[in-house]
């Protein structure tokens, strides 16, 4: 009787845990997609406050010219008007979730002005997201220019 009870509890738990785990995986992908879209909107609007919330404190960005910048530098560029986005068309977006880390890769056609220099081109872009204290934050961005 005792073993039957234990078996019943284990079966009930597994029935509860498996769908929960599955739904969390599904939700994570949806959450990342939402945040990814928020980054695009914030960039186009020049909304540095929104980006400040979406980026982790240790966020770093590797730009298309291989330069490395910190969160503070990126936010400052946007606030000072030295970084303005005109277009950011996303294609081939892929989201991969590994527990509390997620990777997004995409192909983006961009038009922006950075430090007074206009830039038009297609980039292969990666963002890495980490769940910190219950919230997904972007910890890294890398862009590589696509050459023909």
């Amino acid at each position: 009787m005792k073993w039957q009870r234990i078996a019943l509890i284990l079966i009930t738990l597994s029935l509860l845990v498996v769908p929960l785990a599955w739904s969390q995986g599904g939700n994570a992908e949806q959450q990342i997609k939402k945040l990814f879209d928020q980054v695009q909107v914030a960039e186009l609007k020049g909304d540095s406050n929104a980006l400040e919330k979406l980026y982790a404190d240790d966020y770093t960005a590797i730009r298309g010219d291989g330069s490395l910048i910190t969160k503070a530098q990126e936010i400052e560029k946007m606030k000072s008007g030295n970084l303005k986005w005109e277009t950011n068309e996303i294609k081939d977006l892929k989201i991969r979730v590994y527990g509390s880390t997620a990777i997004t890769t995409d192909l983006s056609f961009v038009k922006n002005i950075r430090d007074g220099k206009p830039r038009i081109g297609t980039n292969r872009t990666t963002r890495i997201w980490v769940k910190q204290k219950g919230n997904w934050k972007c910890v890294l961005y890398q862009s590589t220019r696509v050459s023909q």
Partner: protein, 153 residues
């Protein structure tokens, strides 16, 4: 001993002990990841079937490589490049390597200098800013992503 003091000590311990354990775990993980990076360098320089066998083990099934021209390679394409000799390097030097550990994921950034060829792209001792992401799967730190961006003056 006053109950308030005991409670305060317990609170301090509850915060400090897990933080210290996490720091130790991260330090151990960072050493492991740096060791894997050394092994990667050796395997790449050996090239051929030896490199293919190594990356068959250390690249995850969903591995993606974004080359400096923006071209994307899968694990199968990457291994085939080594096997066929279309991918081969004579030099691969890492510098400015930074490892960040987030639980079972490691994000490694740095600069790499290559001499060699990969998928039709020739590397002539230029500098690239790289990101490598490793995820711990089955007790092994496996590569899930590499991206290289050329540093232009």
């Amino acid at each position: 001993m006053k109950p308030r003091f005991v409670i305060a000590m317990l609170v301090v311990l509850a915060v400090a002990v897990p933080a210290s354990m996490l720091a130790q775990q991260n330090s151990k993980a960072e050493k492991e990841v740096r060791a894997v990076l050394d092994e990667i360098q050796k395997a790449v320089l050996k090239g051929g079937v030896e490199a293919a066998a190594f990356f068959d083990k250390y690249n995850a099934d969903d591995f993606t490589l974004i080359g400096p021209n923006g071209a994307v390679q899968t694990k199968a394409e990457n291994l085939e490049g080594f096997r066929s000799g279309k991918t081969g390097y004579q030099k691969m030097d890492f510098s400015d390597v930074k490892v960040r550990i987030y639980g079972n994921t490691a994000v490694v950034t740095g600069i790499v200098k290559f001499i060699g060829e990969q998928a039709g792209v020739k590397y002539n001792d230029n500098q690239y800013r790289f990101t490598r992401v490793f995820v711990r799967q089955g007790g092994i730190w496996k590569h899930v992503l590499i991206q290289n961006t050329r540093i232009t003056p």
